[in-house]
Amino acid sequence: MNTQVLKGVRILIIIPGTVSYFYDEEGRRVAEALRNLGGCVDVETLRSYTPQPYDWCFLMNLSEIEFSMQSKAKTLQHVRHIKSFATRVAMILLESVEMKWFFQSLQLLQEADIDILLDLGFHNQYERATPETRKVYHFIFNGLTKSEREAAYQMFTPLEERPLPWTFVGHLTKERMRFLNKLTENLSRDGFLYLVHFTPVTETGPHLNQEQFFTVLTRTQYKIWCSHHPFFYIESIRFRMALLAGTVPMKVNLDPHRAFDQSLPFSYLIHHEDDFHDAINQLDFEETRQKFATEFLEYPSLEASLLDGLNRLG
């Protein structure tokens, strides 16, 4: 990788700052990757940025930023202001293009007259997107940054240091409850189970923050989760966090149509709720963890994916 390829390129990344640490974290990862490519990157919020010439501005999900600002009008006003001094502005997305929150972001994107949507994930969602979305959609593989690749095996502690058989963390939904009822009947009842009422994910709870969740995962064998919506989506953040904590990720597919493209990354770790406990019982922890890590490291890095994406955009 030519580490100087973005030398002289000035980039502004806007993160929500006060809500959804996922997007804050992703903004910092994108910043790290772009800096590794030689870019000069500032990570700011809409309340803290300084107007100055930038070649690129990446907005870490407009609806999250709007929620953080508590005002749609102010959000749009700031974004239009940024457009006056940044040559190109794009929104970065990390979610299903079929869920309702995405359409809120899309609407903001259109109102702000932004024509680039970068979907940072594990699978191209172009086919699932609406015609309106397709006009602005660009997929970028959410690989590991340089520091993450170096840390990939750091937490690969032995099984005996992982007393929690499984961990399930998220907010409480009817679908998740239905699944957990089955899981605790069919697999085991002694896992770490933390489900809170629906509320924005902030650092102050009741959700676990990044550090707390990571600590729990370092004592866990299998990290289990399912989406809070019925649309098929592979959460790259969840997989990466599992790798760095040395746990095996297991995604529950609640899609009633069940079938999905088996050539997608880590499809052997994604199972329908009806088949889930059989699937997990057949896995060997150490073997699966090694396979998962090896495959993850074989995928393109975030630096390579971003560079490829930016090149495609000219």
């Binding site: 409480l172 009822n181 002694d190 009422h197």
Partner: protein
């Protein structure tokens, strides 16, 4: 007032010299058909603890049931006496508050796990709760409860969050929890207050918080709560007292309206014995 001298159950220790161990207490009032499930799970829980060298027993207090519970309970006590099943049969109906306070006085061990006859304990997890209450020195530890309704499709979860200040508006922590008797005695146990009728457990939780005690959420499944029509607090009666209840809570616990801006000692305490504080 119940005359305790009429009870044929005298603990052979003082309240300040309670042996470390766990008494699983099941108050019963006309729940004959549900008792086998709750008692079986409690006996299995006691067995789990005994395997970890923690003394444990199961104490069922029958609050003068009229549905045949007592006959069943006497048979079960005879069958499972060696496994630690004990019965107190009250000669008159005294209500659940008095029953729980009686358990606080009569139970054999320092820690009490209160459950109801329509609950099922997850036996394999009880040891984690005991480790948690010992490690944190909390007055009370509690965990997730799965709520199952009369139809299979109805399933929910509660008791699933750490202590937050919105509990001063609505309770979300159930009695089905593990308690340190020392500390519950210090705050004088459950109070029978007319406007808090059927919400005495909530009153105790607020009292513990206001007294600086720790209530710790352990993110593990503690049990299953089977919702039956009789499980619910009588909604008409409950609504009738709603205004008085709110006034009482504000008057006692939130006089200056600062509870939402002040974090008690127990605020957001989450602990797992294999992880530590989270």
């Amino acid at each position: 007032m119940l005359n305790k001298n009429r009870l044929n159950h005298t603990p052979n220790h003082t309240l300040r010299n309670m042996p470390t161990g766990v008494s699983i207490v099941i108050p019963n009032w006309n729940h004959e058909y549900l008792l086998p499930r709750s008692i079986q799970s409690a006996l299995m829980g006691a067995k789990q603890l005994q395997q970890h060298d923690i003394p444990a027993d199961v104490l069922v207090i029958d609050d003068h049931s009229r549905d045949g519970s007592l006959t069943l309970l006497r048979q079960l006590e005879a069958l499972y006496f060696d496994d630690g099943l004990r019965l107190i049969a009250l000669p008159e109906n005294v209500g659940v508050v008095a029953v729980r306070n009686l358990a606080l006085e009569c139970a054999s061990y320092r820690y009490i796990l209160f459950m109801d006859a329509d609950n099922e304990l997850i036996p394999e997890n009880i040891y984690m709760f005991v480790r948690a209450i010992q490690d944190t020195e909390a007055a009370m530890v509690y965990g997730n409860l799965i709520r199952r309704g009369p139809v299979a499709a109805y399933v929910d979860m509660f008791n699933n969050e750490s202590f937050q200040n919105h509990i001063f508006q609505r309770n979300y922590i159930d009695t089905f929890s593990l308690y340190d008797r020392h500390q519950i005695f210090d705050v004088r146990g459950y109070q029978s207050i007319p406007m808090m009728q059927s919400h005495e457990d909530w009153e105790l939780i607020l009292h513990l918080a206001a007294s600086g005690r720790k209530m710790v959420f352990v993110p593990v499944l503690m049990g299953i709560y089977y919702d039956l029509p009789s499980s619910f607090v009588n909604p008409t009666r409950s609504a009738e007292f709603e205004f008085e209840r709110k006034s009482y809570i504000d008057r006692v616990f939130n006089q200056l309206g600062i509870r939402f801006h002040q974090e008690p000692n127990t605020y957001h305490l989450r602990y797992h014995p294999d992880v530590g504080y989270i």
